[in-house]
């Protein structure tokens, strides 16, 4: 059972899946770290991005990896607009209201997709979808290897933005001390919206990386986001490194529990882990104190 011939591919595959979880979680944790809210619309926005990537291929013939170049800025704008013109003004700065507004957005987006595209599951066929890379005894599907690499690049870019740009410094300032940042002349509403936009842009990239090897239907994003919630809580709310490590960890756990327990139990395993972490380590396994 524990022979490396089975174990190594399972772990590697888990890491590949985990990278995508990490990317979805990255957006979530970024928004939480700055706005201190859990964005319940994250799953619906991921689904929307997956539909966008799907139709970019179907109608315009755009390869998902090329579509990412167009969809990422578009979703940045979408996220910016949502926070600036809907979530911000509608919630009057009250945390409970923000929760409800993002929940409302999730309901609207998800059901608008359901109404327009019905519950049908759609997939696209790319010539390279079933190509594999051989690493030792493991065969890894090309789209997943690309996704893994892209996630690392995105995380690196985010880190660079946060460290070296003025916007990044402003975001960090607002996350640390909102009032102080405002007094220093930073436009908090703008920074909130930029952060929300960055989080949403992560989803567009994740969607383009997912669509070559995954399906899309109006509930597709939710499966990922519940896992992303787990990842974010596990890694510590607001921690970017935590989200990355947490994502990879959850991916490996899922892959191994799928191997030993079977697929349907693996799904419950994630939820149980989520609840246990929430109950006993709400600040994350390696997160700082909230």
């Amino acid at each position: 059972m524990l022979s490396p011939v089975i174990l190594v591919p399972a772990v590697l595959n888990g890491l590949m899946t985990g990278a995508l979880y990490a990317l979805v979680a990255l957006g979530l944790t970024l928004i939480y770290g700055v706005l201190h809210i859990i964005n319940f619309a994250h799953g619906a926005l991921l689904t929307a991005a997956m539909f966008a990537a799907f139709f970019a291929y179907r109608l315009l013939g755009l390869d998902p990896y090329i579509a990412a170049v167009i969809l990422t800025p578009l979703f940045f704008l979408l996220g910016y607009g949502l926070q600036r013109f809907v979530i911000g003004p509608a919630s009057h700065g009250d945390d409970r209201n923000i929760l409800l507004v993002t929940l409302g957005l999730a309901v609207v987006i998800e059901n608008a997709l359901l109404y327009t595209f019905r519950a049908d599951t759609r997939t696209i066929n790319l010539p390279y979808a079933f190509d594999v890379v051989e690493i030792g005894t493991a065969f890894l599907a090309v789209p997943r290897v690309v996704a893994f690499g892209a996630t690392i690049v995105v995380a690196l870019c985010l880190w660079l933005i946060m460290q070296w740009t003025d916007t990044g410094r402003a975001i960090r300032a607002v996350a640390k001390e909102k009032l102080g940042a405002e007094l220093a002349g930073i436009k908090v509403a703008h920074i909130y919206a930029v952060t929300f936009g960055l989080g949403t842009a992560c989803l567009a990239i994740a969607a383009c990386l997912l669509i070559p090897s995954y399906y899309v239907n109006p509930g597709a994003g939710n499966a990922f986001v519940l896992i992303a919630f787990t990842v974010v809580v596990l890694g510590g709310m607001g921690s970017v490194v935590g989200a990355l490590l947490g994502g990879l960890f959850v991916g490996v756990v899922e892959s191994l529990s799928g191997l030993y327990l079977g697929e349907s139990l693996g799904q419950i395993g994630i939820f149980v882990m989520f609840i246990l972490v929430l109950l006993f380590r709400p600040n994350g396994l390696f997160g700082e104190r909230a």
Binding site: A112, Y115, F229
Partner: protein
């Protein structure tokens, strides 16, 4: 008596509905309004009065529904008894989830997340476990006798449900005026301050959650008995969690009549959408979501809040109207 007089009047008026019309369409609509009012009243006690926003009240609704159905069908328990057990099972699940989350100190978004996760776990379990009929769902056998909690027409169902709604209104009104209710509101307004004043916040929240779960579970039991069919998506699906919080928020969060008013609004909106566009899946929820955002943006206290504002404006008009010098002074001030 004075505190519950408006409730009794409202119940008396509503009780007349089946006497005026025998239309199944109208009664069906009225039953759905009352059902959401009951489920929403459960959410309102915990969320409106206690400030703990649950995104997973489906956990209690579904538990009540499944307990009633399974006890009847697989263990031959009498339907009325099963109804009672269903409520108790829901309360137990509420107490268990509450004990776990409140003792771990989960608040705000974290509490919303954990309730959502519990509802999802139960939904997945119900969709694979053999006892719930897995993907097929659970059917309650047709047995049209009052002893079996099944009736020829819809009117008896309606009156029973109205009785449950009336009881929930009176219960919430009683809690509102009690020490427990005052503690609960104190916890909502400022948990740390309430604790500092000697309120056992965890116990208070736990109590509220248990009662809240019982009310919502009663709705679930009724659903199973009325439609005689449930599956994992109906019983534990997100739709009921969303409607449970929509009704009180639209009607007036933390008010006794809020859930009933809100349920009337969302069910009316739902029906109108259906009439205008046919039975397209999802569209009613799109509108609910928009209404939720609009209410939070423009009328955070719901219909009850709007009514309050109007009443106050009307009053200040009246005091300003008479042209006596004293009243004029008062009006200016």
């Amino acid at each position: 008596m004075r505190a519950i007089a408006p409730i009794l009047v409202a119940m008396a008026v509503l009780a007349a509905v089946p006497l005026i019309t025998a239309s199944n369409v109208v009664l069906n609509f009225a039953v759905m309004v009352l059902l959401i009012a009951l489920v929403g009243q459960g959410w309102n006690l915990l969320g409106g009065y206690g400030g703990q926003y649950s995104f997973g009240h489906a956990a209690f609704f579904g538990t009540g529904a499944y307990a009633t159905a399974i006890l009847q069908m697989q263990y031959g328990v009498n339907a009325w008894l099963g109804f009672g057990f269903g409520i108790a099972a829901g309360a137990l699940v509420g107490a268990a989830i509450g004990a776990l989350s409140f003792r771990s100190g989960l608040r705000g978004s974290y509490f919303a997340l954990v309730t959502l996760a519990f509802a999802e776990v139960l939904r997945i379990i119900a969709s694979v476990a053999p006892i719930t009929g897995a993907g097929v769902g659970t059917l309650i056998k047709l047995d049209l006798r009052p002893e079996a909690f099944q009736f020829q027409g819809r009117a008896p169902f309606y009156w029973i449900l109205l009785g449950l709604v009336g009881a929930s209104l009176i219960l919430v009104r009683a809690i509102e005026g009690s020490r427990f209710g005052a503690y609960l509101v104190a916890v909502r307004e400022n948990e740390d301050a309430a604790k500092a004043m000697g309120v056992d916040a965890t116990l208070i929240k736990l109590g509220a959650m248990t009662i809240s779960a019982a009310m919502t579970a009663a709705g679930g039991c009724f659903y199973a008995q009325y439609f005689l069919f449930i599956d994992a998506g109906i019983a534990y699906g997100p739709w009921i969690s969303v409607e449970a919080l929509l009704a009180p928020i639209i009607g007036g969060i933390g008010t006794v009549f809020g859930p009933l008013l809100g349920a009337l609004v969302i069910k009316t909106v739902g029906e109108v959408t259906k009439l205008m566009t046919g039975d397209a899946p999802g569209l009613d929820l799109v509108i609910y979501g928009c209404v939720l955002i609009l209410v939070i943006a423009f009328a955070p206290r719901g219909i009850a809040g709007i009514a309050d504002d109007l009443r106050q404006r009307f009053r200040s008009h009246r005091t300003a109207a008479p042209a006596t010098p004293a009243a004029l002074e008062h009006g200016r001030g």
